[in-house]
Symmetry: C2
């Protein structure tokens, strides 16, 4: 890893300089045409890209710029967690609105603080990016990681045990409060503003028999459906087992998005106690994988119940 190279003139480079200064040692080698890295010998390279767009994924009157930066990068890193990959670096394509005092870099600086916090929490660095002017604030984040054997969505088989990390529902509850101009409780708000990418948790689970995983960004019901479709199986979820975050509703836990917890299918049960001891986070058996063609079945007390509504950026 090298120090960033000398940058040429221009307002775009001034912004990059601002961000590099705020990121400090959390930014590596910015300024060349491309970032260069090496994957550990024998490991595969894992890549994902995720968008955080003003008015679609966040609102500036609900979250601070620092929180917006942190959350965008963490949401992207969560896709590496779903593959049980270890991050190698992050590239951020930033679109700054014309109404910003972009020239003085104040907005870029606050975003950089949140971006830095997120990469630090994941033990990684910013290795590249792009700055452009646009109508709305947007962060398109590319995450790069490596894994010897990446977890796939398609690895679930009938008989597998289905687990979720953490407790669900708070981000949806927080969003509903914001939409009604109410203030969510601090712990509920924090789950929306300051999620965690379950990177170490995913590697722990993969090392102990997890065969398929997805991060819960579209809601447990929706993401279980994605996992079921990719694995060509059905998923049976016992809704009375789904862990609900304190202050959230069961419906939000079942269908609310933006969780960034993991839904994992495993051939054999995990030791939930070992997981809690290691991560101070619950790991909960919520159902089983069964034969099927890609559907999710919900039960309560052993009886089949109606599915909760799905969650989709384009239909809500």
């Amino acid at each position: 890893m090298t120090e960033g190279i000398e940058l040429g003139p221009g307002a775009e480079f001034d912004l990059i300089r601002t961000m590099r200064l705020r990121l400090g040692p959390l930014a590596v080698g910015l300024g060349d045409d491309a970032a260069v890295l090496s994957a550990p010998r024998g490991e595969q390279v894992v890549l994902s890209v995720d968008a955080a767009i003003e008015g679609v994924h966040f609102r500036r009157d609900w979250l601070s710029l620092r929180e917006i930066g942190y959350r965008a990068i963490t949401a992207a890193l969560s896709d590496l967690a779903a593959m049980a990959a270890t991050p190698l670096g992050v590239l951020v394509a930033l679109t700054l609105p014309g109404d910003d005092s972009g020239r003085d870099g104040s907005m870029a600086g606050e975003l950089a603080d949140g971006i830095g916090e997120a990469v630090k929490a994941a033990s990684t660095v910013v290795i590249g990016g792009n700055v452009a002017r646009g109508e709305l604030l947007a962060l398109n984040t590319t995450v790069v990681g490596s894994a010897f054997s990446p977890l796939r969505r398609s690895g679930a088989r009938p008989g597998d045990f289905l687990y979720v990390t953490g407790a669900l529902g708070a981000p949806a509850t927080a969003l509903r409060a914001f939409e009604k101009s109410e203030h969510p409780s601090q712990p509920v708000r924090a789950r929306l503003a300051h999620p965690a990418a379950r990177l170490a948790e995913a590697r722990w689970l993969a090392a102990r028999g997890a065969m398929a995983a997805i991060d819960i960004s579209d809601g447990l019901a929706g993401d279980a459906k994605h996992l079921a479709a990719a694995s060509s199986v059905d998923m049976e979820i016992q809704i009375e087992r789904v862990p609900v975050f304190d202050g959230a509703t069961k419906d939000d836990a079942l269908s609310g998005g933006d969780e960034y917890e993991l839904l994992v299918a495993a051939r054999a049960p995990f030791s939930e106690d070992d997981f809690v001891e290691r991560f101070s986070l619950p790991l909960t058996l919520v159902g089983r994988v069964v034969e099927g063609a890609g559907e999710v079945r919900f039960t309560h007390g052993g009886a089949r119940v109606a599915p909760p509504p799905g969650y989709d950026h384009f239909t809500r």
Copy 2:
């Protein structure tokens, strides 16, 4: 490489399905949380991200959607050319405007045709992406490649020979015509709408002694300055040697952006004839690298002349 996995329900997935269908074999493995690839043994992984945003980098009344898709991906691939890297894959984060009939996927389909044309021209594939709704059409493209020894901006040394590929100025000339509601000539328009990423050319040059390179996206003057700053040298450019595209002006050749030709510094001269024979494209000696602190000097007939104006998204 694998077929794309089964996708779950939802309008976002419908759009991904549309794009996957249009891309055909040019899309690989879309639909998992992240893309997985292997770099050739011993090679480094090279990554870059580039933005194409409506109103900033393109206008829909000047270019077709297919051209917009082609150009966004080609501009991003050009950063791999600047490092003399071989593409391994492309990830596209697409923002589709709300005014689009996005649900039927017609816009996504036309963009996909251009994206497919660009990756095919570069002998690579689309390995991932994201689709979100936003105010304006935007493509944030991440390119991944590999190289045994990537070319850097910082590799130029005093005494090096400075070369450019191709002939310059046409994209700026085309843009000026569009801005005056005029029609640029077809060859001049094509240089803007349908640029080429000089990937094979860059590997040829790197194999024959190129030590530093940059792709000319901000204009020859501006990019020479970036190269000079990164290498802590001065660049001396003989403006009478700069190749001008037929129908463009010398000023546009010196300072117009969006070229995606290469500016290369090399320890020893290249055989320009061999290059032309191999690529049907001129390779021109335009100056030398000299001792200095990161400046670009322009000469004409041996006499120092004033620099052309720079080029910067944030100041023009």
